[in-house]
Symmetry: C2
Subunit: 425 residues, 2 copies
Amino acid sequence: MKIVKNPPREKWKALLQRPYQDHTALYQTVQAILEQVKKDGDSAIKELTQKFDGVLLDGLQVTEEEIASAITLVPQVLKEAIQQAKNNIEKFHEAQWQQPKIIETMPGVQCWRKNVGVEKVGLYIPGGTAPLFSTILMLGVPAVLAGCKEISLCSPCNKNGTLHPAILYAANLVGIHKIFKTGGAQAIAAMAFGTETIPAVYKIFGPGNQYVTAAKQMVQMQGVAIDMPAGPSEVCVLADDTANPVYIAADLLSQAEHGADSQVILICTSETVVAQTMKEVELQLLALPRKNIAQKALDNSTAIIVSNLLEGIDLVNEYAAEHLIICCQYADSVAEQITAAGSVFIGNYSTESAGDYASGTNHTLPTNAFARAYSGVSIDSFIKKITFQKLSQEGLRNISETVIAMAEAEGLQAHANAVKVRMAE
Amino acid sequence: MKIVKNPPREKWKALLQRPYQDHTALYQTVQAILEQVKKDGDSAIKELTQKFDGVLLDGLQVTEEEIASAITLVPQVLKEAIQQAKNNIEKFHEAQWQQPKIIETMPGVQCWRKNVGVEKVGLYIPGGTAPLFSTILMLGVPAVLAGCKEISLCSPCNKNGTLHPAILYAANLVGIHKIFKTGGAQAIAAMAFGTETIPAVYKIFGPGNQYVTAAKQMVQMQGVAIDMPAGPSEVCVLADDTANPVYIAADLLSQAEHGADSQVILICTSETVVAQTMKEVELQLLALPRKNIAQKALDNSTAIIVSNLLEGIDLVNEYAAEHLIICCQYADSVAEQITAAGSVFIGNYSTESAGDYASGTNHTLPTNAFARAYSGVSIDSFIKKITFQKLSQEGLRNISETVIAMAEAEGLQAHANAVKVRMAE
């Protein structure tokens, strides 16, 4: 990790720059995949799965038998852990429901919003170096709570043409039964356009590699909604001299092991804590199975020493981290000053991995400074809030002059007429 | 309007097809504009404004004097109407705030969400055939309520280099003081990248022509958030034999006058009501100043006679209209069965124009069947919901086995370690 001491404010922007990810180079490749799937459906998916994943599939959909057999393969201790995480995620997301309130804005003018689950949603769960069954809980639990009627899940299979048992177990536990063995841009294409086997959906969720990200961006241009733009995962730790270097190092490494492109930032008021943390990072790194990946991520990462905590808070808000861990003496009041972050972890015992798996908050969060404008996934992501209004004759009378004056001033006479014909009687 | 009687379900999709809008042909033109503005800032804006709007501007920002003088030009009756509309919009949108609740998912594990306004937002208000000051209320009121700190507004000026007084009046009333005289793709570019005068923002809102729409889509790919994808405005009226053809005709026309590309759909159980409505449309059309525009929109529009109301409801949900007006005897229970629409107007006195201007609901709504996955603009559109969590030592202990089991099963040892180092003490 690079160490920077007291950078002047005019250097902050450059210092906090994420590694630039330009997906335009991929667009041509991804466009071809999108078109192939649109045209040839299932047979395109099978061809692309053979090409990219090296396996020739008979059927794309996971069968009941495969699910049943996967369930027997998951160790009891993991089943209990997944169940506990599910309970917590349910508890937190259920409380996000907003009960509709009827607002009478003027006598006889009633307005309200109603929550309706997006009818058809698709969840993408990456394969690759780790079987991310936790993401199934993070997307599937709110989808079910929101009342989404049709939930599909796509995930790339391994060389044997199967999905990891924990993936199938978690999906089944959540209540997702339409599971398809396909990954990459072709999975996104299938969910966007539909194939004979894989239904088209209205909104696509989930992380993925740069092909998946590019495909999501491209189908969004064609009218399919997506959860949010994606970039590599990242953590920022804000610490003062009361922080524990052992804990900080463990948190930085837990982010760094995600991928070589992960970003890790330490912002600290204490030079000593930074130095001790760097030593701890070296030490803990040695024991990690994914140490090569973590080392690469650390090479792109920075520790910044600031002269005081207020400057640190400004820096943190400027960075708009996906995950922000606050290890400071007055962590609560620091947390109150955070204006941009995906998810905030307060104090020494709130490690990021608690939220990654099981505390109840969602781990699908805005990266790449998107936290300036985007929220993480929540039950809101799976519902539409339809507005309703009901005016009585008196209500329309009360509002009629206002509407007529405004419509006429905008030069929209038919808008005014729609009120006038009703008032004429 | 075309009249179709009892179309079989397999024909619905084709029948409800929106006119396809392919913006890819515009991308090259828009891309050049985006790059020019990114590179040359204010001088690019001035050059493009001269080219497209035929006016050479001295300054891009509307001055205090211009605002003060505009205020004197707005008639008192319009001022009162705008004030009334603002009050109602405020009342409805204020009630959308969700108070944060702390959820203790397990003993010692506290999770909550906090609403924080998007710090910098940009509102685009089209010029063209109508001065849409009502859109300023619809976007500006929730932006201010959400606590957005920096709100910019761009709108194209007329040939004299000025903005319509009602635009300036409404902006000032809402509390927006950074107003810039620029329109089209160049305005979107300015708000996305920033110029010497126009600040870069994190999220861009507002309707516009196809260049504006394409520019919004393209800057979204580069990390700037937008309110929603846009398409031509549309209304669907669902009526039975109790409906008033005079009212229906007025509602259809108020949508049709928006633009030649507007779409108008009538779904009705009564052939007689359809026939009477068609006659009324012809009659009312004659008196409209924008009758040529409305006629063109009607040419692309359809009345569908259905054999019963349940079929009508299915059809309406399939269409997913931006605006849905329900003129049926049991309008309330019909409304309860709506699963996809931007905004729903219940009963004979709930004309769309009430909601367009002043009832309190937002008029920035999902078109083009985006209502299947998107909500209209609300206070949610201007805030981020940041999640927070705070675990006590006991809380982390309670959750530790769960996190460790899941992290290890996903092959993420450093995630498990971040818990273990804290439990070791």
